[in-house]
Symmetry: C2
Subunit: 347 residues, 2 copies
């Protein structure tokens, strides 16, 4: 475990702002004695919330006042130009300067991506950053799904690079060699899908670093057959949010069905802990941060309506990525693989 | 109810072929005294299966021998050229000639789409056919999701036309005026998504026939806020199959959790009917046919691994669409709306 770990938090993002991020920050420093958090946002609001939790004078919670906030309706490019003193920007600047080793935000995804890209820059050879998250499966290990919305459309080379980055993340997180990587498609046969996917499949097949296992369909995501599934951001975002929606629907229907008769009402009461635990497991978007990979720094994006528990999970994820030195690992593999690949594709 | 209803079935498609389609056909004619089915496929195989169900001489089950089968690996364009005596093609030809009022297949989706397009042709003014299916929601009514994989990419005009077709389907199926139509996107704000979606949103907003209600995210699909949700085929296919996958995962995790202790084992036993019923409801792909809309004829696509029950549901869906005269209704609305729209977009 690292003895000196500093993470910058954008306290003002998401639907709940400091009401969610402050309790999460307090819990995180209490749980990890090596963790220091720099709380970026409106000093007055943060102080008030900290006071209500008796943590205003916590030695490892440092407030960094910011006069601006990036709202959800803010255009990414205008956020970069005109929100230089926003909580999101200041948190990213702290990573850039090295004052913090990672940052966490639950704010406007588009703006965070654009700003992170602008402030931190890409790792050498990486075309685009991607949002990646662990999704539960029927097996013990989760599957890493990317891109979850950082890039609406992706060309073949970008999808191929996402395969490499996903593979590094899975390798580090699962502790396994040669994670199985697949491409999300609308069928498992070679003829299925569009040109970019077919070309990405070829690039992945040719890459000696990757353990490419072919196409996956939406229904394969949760079987655990793959360790990494690659898709463009629009598709990944819809898939992840569809999971969230269907998990809610099933829990809604199950609870409703169980409430219909007195007998089932009693069952429902007894089952409550099982259902609650299950819901947490199958609702990945709510309980895990998604990480922005491919940048020269660690950025974890928490869900827009993240609860304190979800924001806490995102801080935890950022801490683990610092320990794993994820950007450095990605850079090393890219240097090795990408140069080989470039020669191969230039041929 | 129609007194004379003939539906052509492609008996050889899907993972189970006649083992699934024959029991479904026998059940369908037994359940509906007005229904005649033309069973297209290998006569010997069909006869044998019918005999095993004591239905070889059923007066409303007519075998039409076909010497070819369209396999899952068959390229759509080559299927059209070289599979003229396939069960899929013959079933479509029967709709074209008027011998049947609809057809059902669980075969290769790409080939079915390409062949149906080639044989039946588009309705006047419709650019592309779409696959549409009902998906369950938290409310009483389902939501109609399209396109589910007929078109990998769609431009703005195509998405807009899907909105109109989806609206007609929902209007007829739900018996409601002005169904609420939305576009699937990666955020609800106007700035989100790609250019085609933004332009489609404008076209839908300007259309007096449509009750366009804005963007939906993946998590909104099941809330029942919209009656129709429009997206391109790649995204719709992934979303639907993701539903299928997560429904299976949740049932798997729930059953596993319930089996851990003796107490929960007993609960699981008592809960079995509730869980089974729930699974049927939340796994739309398995229990509903998806319809191909926009063509001059009714084509229902059953799931590739359709059980007899699922194939039966698809026959039932085809019968309902014949009663509702769906292609005629779509054509009428298109004539009225599309001509107005064309003038508007030409300005």
């Amino acid at each position: 475990m690292l003895t000196n770990l500093t993470i910058a938090l954008d306290m003002m993002g998401g639907d709940y702002g400091p009401r969610s991020s402050i309790p999460a920050a307090v819990n995180a420093v209490n749980a990890n004695a090596n963790l220091r958090l720099i709380l970026c946002g409106n000093e007055q609001v943060i102080s008030k919330e900290l006071e209500s939790l008796d943590s205003l004078s916590h030695p490892r919670l440092i407030i960094r006042h910011c006069s601006q906030v990036v709202t959800n309706s803010c255009e990414p490019s205008s956020a970069v130009r005109s929100k230089k003193d926003s909580s999101m920007r200041v948190a990213l600047d702290l990573v850039k300067s090295g004052e913090a080793q990672a940052c966490v935000s639950s704010g406007n995804t588009g703006a965070l991506l654009f700003m992170a890209h602008y402030v931190l820059k890409m790792l050498p050879g990486v075309k685009r950053p991607a949002l990646i998250s662990a999704v539960p499966t029927e097996r013990k290990n989760p599957v890493y799904l990317l891109d979850l919305g950082a890039n609406v459309h992706c060309d073949a080379q970008t999808l191929y690079q996402f395969g490499i980055m996903g593979s590094v993340v899975a390798e580090q997180a699962l502790g396994c060699d040669n994670p199985k990587v697949s491409l999300l498609n609308i069928g498992s046969e070679d003829i299925k899908g569009h040109e970019d996917i077919k070309q990405a499949a070829q690039l992945m097949q040719q890459c000696s670093y990757l353990n490419y296992t072919g196409y996956s369909e939406g229904s394969d995501i949760f079987t655990g057959k793959s360790d990494v599934i690659v898709c463009e951001g629009f598709v990944g975002n819809v898939a992840l949010k569809t999971c969230e929606g269907i998990a809610k629907l099933i829990m809604f229907k199950l609870t409703k069905a169980l409430r219909k008769h007195f007998f089932y009402k009693c069952l429902a009461f007894m089952l409550r802990p099982v259902i609650k635990k299950l819901y947490k497991r199958v609702n990945p978007d709510q309980y895990n941060g998604a990480s922005l990979v491919g940048l020269r720094g660690i950025v974890v994006k928490s869900h827009g309506n993240a609860s304190p528990k979800a924001f806490y999970a995102a801080i935890d994820e950022a801490a683990r990525e610092v320990e794993r030195q994820l950007p450095e690992k990605i850079a090393a593999i890219f240097e090795q693989t990408h140069s080989t690949k470039k020669v191969a594709t230039d041929d």
